[in-house]
Each structure stands twice: as structure tokens, then as C-alpha cells.
Symmetry: C2
Subunit: 217 residues, 2 copies
Amino acid sequence: MSNQDTRTRLLETALELIWQSNYNSVGVNEICKQAGVTKGGFYHHFESKASLFCEASEYYWNSVKRDLDTLLSPVNTPLEQLENLINFIFITKFGQDADDVPGCPFFSAGSQAGCGEEAVNESLLNMSKNGVKYNLALVRSLYAAGYLEGDVDAERVARLMNQYIQGAVSFARVNRCMETIKRDVPEGLYRILGLKREYWFKTAATWPPACEKAATA
Amino acid sequence: MSNQDTRTRLLETALELIWQSNYNSVGVNEICKQAGVTKGGFYHHFESKASLFCEASEYYWNSVKRDLDTLLSPVNTPLEQLENLINFIFITKFGQDADDVPGCPFFSAGSQAGCGEEAVNESLLNMSKNGVKYNLALVRSLYAAGYLEGDVDAERVARLMNQYIQGAVSFARVNRCMETIKRDVPEGLYRILGLKREYWFKTAATWPPACEKAATA
DNA sequence: TGACCTACATACCGACCGGTATGTATTATC
DNA sequence: GATAATACATACCGGTCGGTATGTAGGTCA
């Protein structure tokens, strides 16, 4: 197994475990055990638990970014982009039992705020800002195409979307129930966007492609 | 100092500390030190850290409930009730520095989900459900009075409000910035409710009373 | 006055935490 | 084939965690 493999396994294992609970309650030992790496190996690759988290954030964001670039690609109509984004929220990056609640560990990670480590908070903040940027582009597309009611302060609405999505995922975790928010999130976003009623629930998602959907099922 | 005083001080101290960070990273020792109680005292009153949290949840919810009953009282118009609720979100129960981010430790506590303790999660779930109940009543009042656009699935909208508020508080914590969400939350809730535009930002809050506001300033 | 109970205080426990020092097998370089 | 750097593995550290065992001061009641 190569150098990069071990690094990557540590990163992905950390993401998985932190996603399942949270930064504070996932220990270095647990990460190592799950990844099949010893502590020496861990600290060979990362100088601290916090720095692992920061690198994992970047690693994760790059993956999310690729997905977002695809599903918000201009080849899709703004409405399709919106539906794609909604579906994306429910896609868990890590294979889980059906009753596990997904949501990305970092979009939903305001959760972890106040963990004490400044660098960790910084990473979360960055992630949040990046997410809002994508929302902003989507809001502008939808507005330009005339799908939204009334005037729109695009920056604000982009933030509102981010805030709502975070809350929805958090809600799902507390309630340990995906079904509810699967029904709630579309309407929540429609309402926040002020999407004209005639466009509610009108578009089939183009993403993920059917093949990929089948593969993860 | 009486028996009940000590109990209460432990409960309130725990709430304050957990609110400032989170369940996992607040230790029993820290709570004891801050409350001026020894560990023997702590475990005389509570059988575990988790059970303290559960009792603190109840204690806190009772306080919130009293406030909500006041600010959502039928003596206020539905619009006033809404504005009161919005302001309530920004009221910190614990005196803090201006740059500290408020938000109640439990409304915003999906945050803490996955801490491992089942009883803790149960408490959070309960709190969330109770909060939704109040939202539900408000949604129905607003709808009955004709303030809302289109059709409304009241239960769903009540949940959406809960989800959004959670997310907004979480957003504020990650961004360590109150100002943004103070401007965002009203519009966020207006949009989720589908409040007709002509009623946006139109009502002065009746709560908290001016005297109380001055006292906490 | 002595037995008893409540409400703590003090001292301490094993487990586990993040992190480190040091040893070793493997690989690249010359 | 010698040298050196890489990529770990093992053993261990001090500190902190939630929790407990035991002591004790002060009030209650017979």
C-alpha cells in the first residue's frame, strides 16, 4: 500500500467517523483502528488531530465541488440545477444503513462549532462560505430566468438557503428520520427562494445519473 | 445556601457552559468549578453528566415555555406574535459579551447530536418537538388571519421554521457574527411562512417589554 | 445525649485522551 | 553494496475524563 493510499484512508475514515458523530467524540485511536493504521502512521502523515480535520475538510470540499460543478452545470436549466441540488443533499458520501441520517459532515458541521480548536472553526467557516457561493450562482440563474417571485437580494437568499439546509440536516439527525426532511427540504427551499408556485415539484432531476444511482443503491 | 439553590446553580451553570461550547467538551469538573460546587456535591444531586443534561433540558424548556406563552399570547396579533418570536431568537438567556453568539443551547442543539448518550438525544428530540408545536399554533393564526400566501400545510411549515431557525443559529456560530443573521432571520421566516410581502417588516415587537430590555442591556 | 440522616467535601480510581520517542522494515540514491 | 531517507510500528507519557469511596459538618428526632 502506497504512501498516498494511507493518507487517503485516514482522511476518508476521519470523514466517515466524524460524520457519524462529531469532531470531539471521535478519537485519534478510533480513526487509526478503523483505518488500519497505527498511531505512528497517523502522526507521520498529520501533525495533529486538528490538522487532519482541516485537510479532511479540503479533501471533502474538493469532492463536493466536483459534484456541484456537475449538477449546477449550465447545461442544465436553472430548475434542473435546483432539483439536482436538492437531491444532492440526500446523497450520503459514505455507504450507510438505510436508517442512518446522511448529510455531509461539514455542511452540517456548524454542529461542531465551539470545539475549541480555532483552525477547525476556520475550516468550517471556509466551507460554509464556499457553499454560499454556489447557492448565489443558482439564485441568480433562477432570478434571471424569471422563476422567482418579487425582488431578490441574491446574497441574502443564498445565505438563507445555506442556513436552512444546515438546519434541515440537523433536524434529521435529531429526529433520526430521513423521510420527513426528504419531503420538507424541497418545499423549504422553494419557499426561501420564492420559487413561483407553478414551478414547484415540476422538474425531474438529471443528477445523479441513473447508472450512478443504481451503483450506490 | 439551600439544597435547591445548589441544584439550580448546577443546572444553570451547565446550561451556560454547554451553550458556550457543547455537551462533549464541557466537563463535570468545569461545571463544578464554575458553580462553586465540588464533585461530591454534583454527584449528590445528579447521578451522571447525562442526567444533569436531561434535567437541564427540562429546566430550560420550562423557562422558554413561559416566555413563549407570553410572546405568543393571543392578546398579541399574529403579526406581533411573529415579530416577538423573531426577537426571541436573539435574546440570550445568559449575559454575554456583545460579540458572543447567542441562540439557546438546545434549540440550537441538534448541534450536539451524536454525542453518544441516548438519553441526551432523547432530550433534544423532545425539545425540538415542543418547539414545533408553538410554531404550528403561530402558523395557524397567521393563516387564519389571511397573512399567508397560497395553501399551507401547517405542520410542514412549522417544521420548516424549526429547521431554519436551527440552521440560522448554527450559521451565526460558525460565522461568529450576529449582525448577519439578525438581518437574515426575519426575511428567512417571512419567506418560509409565505408571509404576504405587504406585511414584511411592518410590525414593532411587543416583547420583551421595554423595561426588561433596558434591564438586560 | 446519642443515633441518624442530609448535604456536601476530599481524595482517589481506571480508562482514555492527544501526542511523542524510538525502533525497524522498506525503498530510493549513489 | 553502503547510505540515507521514507513509512511506518511499538511502547509509553502526562493530563483529563466521568465516576466513586469515604470522611465530615450540621440539623433532626428519640
